[in-house]
């Protein structure tokens, strides 16, 4: 299996006018290092900031864009997403860290250490990305293998750091909460300090194996409001009265082919499309159709979760559970009843079609 960016990735990247490799040494180092002082400090991901997660660290409401629910997966990719979501929902799933790409869209604060020859990105978990900006390329194939952070080279294009990353592996044992891309995936990031205290990162992801098109993710980093990074050794808890953290099992990331389900017509799918509300709550969400598939859109999120049809009124989300639509005597859908993977049932009316 090739570990280099494949033709698909290279063509896609070129089409996006983004360099795939650090080609010329003289163009890669920052021209004015002092002008990059604004990159100093401790940064957090806007929208995924730990302070919004409260004392528990789990207030919810975070849409990790890089998890992949908005990615253009093929069916094999969606099957892997379903397996990942089910696996991540299991109790006590220990994660060793974030890895790349998730460490660029995580709960964990990080710093940039910019020097002429390389820039390091270091996060709270002591994970380090080293981006060589001295003009070197990636290692030759015989010296390369996929790792949790991949291999990164970079070029300073004026005040923009362009990072090219390959040889990244999806490692469920290390971090299940990550996009299940192949190790042929190619990442190109463009990071720029667009204003004091605001760095934007546009990441273009190409995977010839599981994506149908380049996947573009835009992230924003904001100051964390602390004067230094407090590193997390992830090792120093010695209490075992109630141990909430256990090692993940080694063999439970099982990907089954995406269920084909029942083929429904566009009219049948459109019959359940619309906005629904959970009874007794103000929570609204949508079912939308794209081509010949129905998707669930969680409230407030851009993510679309594929739904597999079991019948015109019964669908199964890829992460498990079941949605039953309720129809009146005329056949018009008036509401829903959802059974979640844990057996909890919620129901409510259709608000708009």
């Amino acid at each position: 299996m090739s570990r280099r960016p494949g033709l698909f990735a290279l063509v896609a990247a070129l089409a996006a006018a983004q360099p795939t490799h650090a080609a010329a040494a003289t163009s890669c180092v920052p021209k004015d290092l002092a002008a990059l002082a604004g990159w100093n400090g401790v940064w957090a991901v806007e929208g995924a900031d730990a302070v919004d997660q409260g004392l528990s660290g789990r207030n919810g409401g975070v849409e990790y864009k890089l998890i992949g629910l908005s990615a253009p997966w093929n069916d094999e990719g969606w099957a892997r997403m379903g397996a990942m979501l089910k696996r991540a929902a299991a109790p006590n799933v220990k994660q060793g860290g974030w890895g790349f790409p998730m460490m660029m869209d995580s709960f964990s604060e990080f710093t940039f250490v910019v020097s002429p020859a390389q820039t390091a990105i270091i996060n709270q978990y002591r994970e380090v990305r080293t981006i060589y900006t001295d003009g070197r390329g990636h290692p030759p194939q015989e010296d390369a293998w996929p790792t949790n952070w991949g291999d990164s080279t970079g070029c300073w294009d004026g005040d923009t750091l362009v990072i090219d990353t390959v040889d990244v592996r999806f490692d469920p044992m290390f971090n299940i909460a990550a996009p299940p891309l192949s190790d042929q995936t190619h990442f190109v990031e463009r990071l720029r300090l667009v204003a004091p205290g605001r760095i934007e990162n546009e990441m273009t992801v190409t995977d010839p194996k599981y994506l149908t098109a380049p996947w573009v993710v835009r992230l924003t980093y904001i100051p964390a409001g602390i004067d230094r990074l407090v590193l997390d050794a992830s090792q120093d808890r010695n209490d075992t009265v109630i141990q909430t953290i256990t090692a993940p099992p080694k063999d439970d990331f099982v990907v089954e082919p995406l269920e084909k389900g029942v083929a429904l017509s566009v009219a049948q799918l459109d019959g359940v499309v619309g906005r629904y509300v959970i009874a007794g709550t103000p929570i609204e969400f949508e079912f939308v159709r794209k081509e010949d598939r129905l998707y669930f859109q969680p409230p407030g999120f851009a993510a679309l979760i594929p739904m597999i049809a079991q019948s015109p009124l019964v669908f199964v989300p890829i992460a498990g559970g079941e949605i039953r639509f309720i129809a009146d005597a005329s056949g018009r859908v008036t509401g829903f009843e959802a059974t979640q993977p844990d057996g909890t049932v919620v129901k409510g009316p259709r608000k708009t079609s």
Binding site: L55, S56, G57, G60, Q95, R237, D239, G280, I283, F296
Partner: protein, 124 residues
Amino acid sequence: MDCKHWTIGIAGALLFAGSADAHHSGAMFDQMVTKTLVGTVREFQWTNPHCFIQLVVKDERGRDVEWSLEMTAPIHLMRLGWRRTSLKPGERITVTIHPLRNGEKGGNVVQALRANGKPIGAAA
């Protein structure tokens, strides 16, 4: 019920709540259940990857039972105004938690109040 709880099941726990933390999923905590404990701090563990409050609480029969209450990491608590000295052994506090699903005496801390009712941390 709130948005996050409902979407946990439908979307598959991880991105909305279960894995906000990179150490482990939160699926062992029942986020549909909120429980309030009033007790005495035996120990405040300012440790990575999670801080813990070891809280001694009287059970329904008047016996002392120790609860192990997980919090987020020190860096995140610091940003919320906590310090390693924020709790002292012997201090009486009121803690709101999402309890463990398996019935063990543990949970995930949602709120912590001093005996005077003031929140511990930035707002204290």
